[in-house]
Symmetry: D3
């Protein structure tokens, strides 16, 4: 249970890993853990409205989003692999699946983060989650081809969608990210194309922080200004201690 | 998050804390933690069929069940307080509620275990859970009278009912109890009146153990023969680390 | 599994056993089985608007509703026991509970029918269901006082509320009542105070009949004009044959 | 409702029809009914870890799994058709769908068994269920090409996944398989590749058996040692009798 | 919120827009609004049993269904666009998706109606809903190619499936269609191939009408004979007034 | 549907009507409608921690909370009736129920607002909702005694609990309260005892406002800075127009 050494984050678009899991990523890095991001598309169609309105073409937009995503990953202290698998709609292909299986086996993650199972505002998000979960199961099987060793059974957490209740997201884990909050803010600000969301996710960080304090046991001693991210476990937690 | 020093278990009947949470209790004791059981009734009507058939009267049966419950608690290493609040049906009274509030404040629990919110086979079980949760909230409020300091916000876990799916119980925590399994078996065997259930709960312990292994991350290293108990969190987990 | 000899129906008000379970009752009677109705109140406040508007007093209205209920039960071929436990709101009391336990033990039902667990249009309905389920569990226990033998574990079915989806009612049993349909119609028509509902429940009987045909296996051979009632099981069906 | 003459079981992998539905299959055979298994893949990648580790190649493994599956089907008294449609991941193709439609029309099943709708541990399981349900609907339509007569509306039951609660599986049917239990054990033991699961599913059979006894009406008279399998209906049960 | 000028209805088959949404369409037309129907297939395989039994071939049947669908749309006062994308099974293709995106952008709907998210009786229905929702999201994005302006965020309503509870359909909107009821009846009667359903949906219209009256606030003043259609919102309602 | 003239808000404690429904109340007042608040307790035990810590006694605290509640109601433009029915725990009594029935009949509300059905953080909240719904049904019945005319069937909306997802709250209505936002802020600030929550609910108002803009149809034209409150309908909406 102690010292998970590698975190794998599978997202549909570059913005997702910043808004939704930036704190968890920065936290892993700050503790000397390896953090790897599998970014399935550049969000070139679905998350780049202002660039399209400014007259950029597809390749230019991909480059912009790649640069932004790389910069945000650098700020968070993570490696990022771009799969360029198209968005709007993101589709599951044999090629994408094999690449992701290979990544799982190469990275041997101890913890996996991805999208929630439903999102009526964006069909790429649940599709990315479906792909992430299927690739994880495939990477566990010796009969599935690919380099490297099969993986174990790392726990998977859904990070928070934009409108939680409508997506059926019920957080059962609140992660205290207070100590890396400034890092998350810096990464959010680095995403030029979607800067208007920084306020929204700053408020959310505060809101989840207040809830973390309200749900804390007597010994936790959270600071006055706590920031948190919300997650939902896919599989039961296995533990040697209830707390 | 480290070293929770006190565990409080609120059950409707004496058998419940053994079958459903005996492992968690023994584990707490084995680590030097204090474990306190609030046993709201003796199960004198609902869990004592053979004693009634043998012609015992109410007071005799209560004494038998009290002795059994005390012995099981001793074996598990826990203190037990019997509230003698009647069973079948267990009812919420102002007196019972105040006694339980006082216990919360006296014990200052770091973790609370109780029944699940529904059980169509036994109406005392959800009632005990409702009482346990309400008393916990009341014990948090300075405006509610009673000796001692108000409590914090200890996490609450539902333990497993007899037929999980029909009770809407979806385990999201699997607690490894392998190291105290023999202690739990001894406590189960001490409950003379309900000995036929030992096999059932032994099988369940193995079954949950297999599932714990299937859900474990690479670093957990569970033993070949793992025994586990299943729990469901009522409130979100607050944590500084995803694992 | 064959030849259940006694049916027990627990309802909040007289109308309920006719609108919601009249077919099942008539079917039991037509097969030589005993059908017993436990009618907890007369529906004197909540289901007697026209009588109140006509200036009747409480006792007069109870007598009217008792006579109607008795007549409907006679038409369906059932015994009916009125508990006169007040409606709007119906409340659980020790006295009512003991009377119902006694009835369970006296009747020894093979099948139990009652209301669904939720109904935002009428708080008496879920309360009657809660009472019926608790009394059934209490009647199983040798430690609960009362005459007669303890009962076994008869299956329980919820009958259909007035607006199914809003009440969370999901039918998983469609009972073919075609052969007793005219009897149900006669019983519905005997309820003078609520005659405007006959059309509504006639349409419902047809609708559930069409669905029964759509869900029938090849061997069932339902007639062209099938009437049905919808039910939801509370406990798993135990069977020696899947069909 | 009486004497269903043909059972069709649609599974993703050979092991599934043994672990999850072996009792229902053996029971059908013991009563002179026809049982047909549609095994969509050989489980060659996802359920054959030890063979891969032993250095077998794909074709060898398929042959091993085919032989095992055939042997288990023989022991249970069922015909088995292997579709060799690949696993990990199993995919819906027009060819597979047409073959399955043809099978439905040829077999004219009275009862259909398949996987549950969700399984976060194995994406082939819900995919097989989706395929089985779609093929059943297509086989009902005169406008869908293929030999033979269209089928009726046979009831469909989901059999039990490996970790029921996490898969959203809520059993509403417990099938008493006591009389064929030894046959199921023999079939389980014939699956060399996955022998470590025999204990797990033996415990499950006992556990579901205890629950069957707890949920039985007074007339059922189940034996002391009852074994059962759990199922969940997809469509409402149509019946002429509540029991 | 006032005067929505265009209604877009996306259905799998021609019958669907009549049975399930004919009232809403006629109501829009009666108020001078534009109503456009996107009919993805002709229901040539799944909804044309009698034509196949009469020996018609595929093209003949498509023409029959097209003519019927056109006539029904004319009666309701709507434009209809047939996509001829095949049914049983309806599949999502890039071509179909682009055509539908183009339609969204051309029509600029203020309200969208489509199927519910689940239907175990007909896999085309949830597939059509999935396509309708994805195309709506894609049509919102400047980065998705196609003529015309991107659309806003029109609310989406699921119309009622054939067996609501089994499909998980929980109506949260009841639309009063009394003033156009005769128009809906005429459109239903124009569908020669499925005339036996007119009674079923007439009863449903009455039933939903009775429920509309039961759920109306004091000021609504619904007529004695009210007819209604049931809908379920996908997204939260945005309003300036609670009522 | 037009011009609802009276709003009734039933809350457990004074703070609730400000934090959760202050916008709706102010909006009603600003439109010349009558708004009446039924405040069942003073929150004297559960929401007055600082006053208890400051050594005030029960009567003093009730007076403080009454004054604060009255002031907030005045600022929002509402009448408030305090029932002084005790909190922590709030209990249903015959007296309270009759008083509330009388209020319903006197006020004849067109819209009712109350708590959500579940809240594991505060048992008074769901109890107040249960009381509000039962009193509404009782007030509809001519057979229930009390002055004034029976009421119709006003729609009921749950307002938002403190931690929505954990309470099972899924908003399906977002009310634009931008035009009265300053009034709500003033009312929030008037609640001296709980001033630390103003930031939390200001953030929530912004957050729900952003979501209202994201869910708005093309014609709604919400302002740049929109504030909103979230609600969940208990009963289906009855309407003459989909929008």
């Amino acid at each position: 249970m102690s010292n998970p050494s590698t975190l794998l984050v599978v997202t549909a678009h570059p913005g997702d890993f910043v808004w939704r899991a930036g704190g968890a990523i920065a936290l892993a890095h700050s503790r000397g853990q390896r953090a790897v991001i599998a970014c399935l598309s550049f969000g070139e169609r679905g998350e780049s409205a202002s660039a399209w309105r400014a007259g950029k073409n597809l390749e230019e937009i991909k480059e912009i989003r790649r640069a932004e995503g790389q910069k945000a990953a650098d700020l968070l202290g993570a490696e990022v692999q771009f799969f360029d698998a198209n968005d709007y709609p993101l589709r599951e292909t044999d090629e994408l699946m094999q690449q992701l299986i290979d990544l799982y086996r190469s990275v041997q993650p101890d913890v996996v983060l991805t999208h929630a199972a439903a999102d009526p505002y964006n069909m790429d998000h649940p599709k990315a989650a479906e792909i992430a979960l299927a690739a994880r199961v495939l990477a566990q099987a010796p009969g599935v081809t690919g380099p490297g060793e099969v993986i174990g059974a790392p726990p998977v957490f859904s990070f928070e969608p934009h409108q939680s209740e409508v997506c059926g997201f019920v957080p059962n884990v609140l992660l205290d990210i207070t100590e890396v909050w400034e890092t998350k803010v810096a990464a959010m600000n680095s995403l030029g194309a979607q800067g208007h969301l920084v306020d929204y996710y700053t408020d959310l960080g505060k809101r989840r922080g207040v809830q973390a304090k309200r749900n804390s046991g007597p010994n936790l001693g959270l600071p006055v200004h706590t920031f948190a991210e919300a997650y939902q476990r896919i599989y039961p937690q296995v533990t040697g201690e209830l707390n």
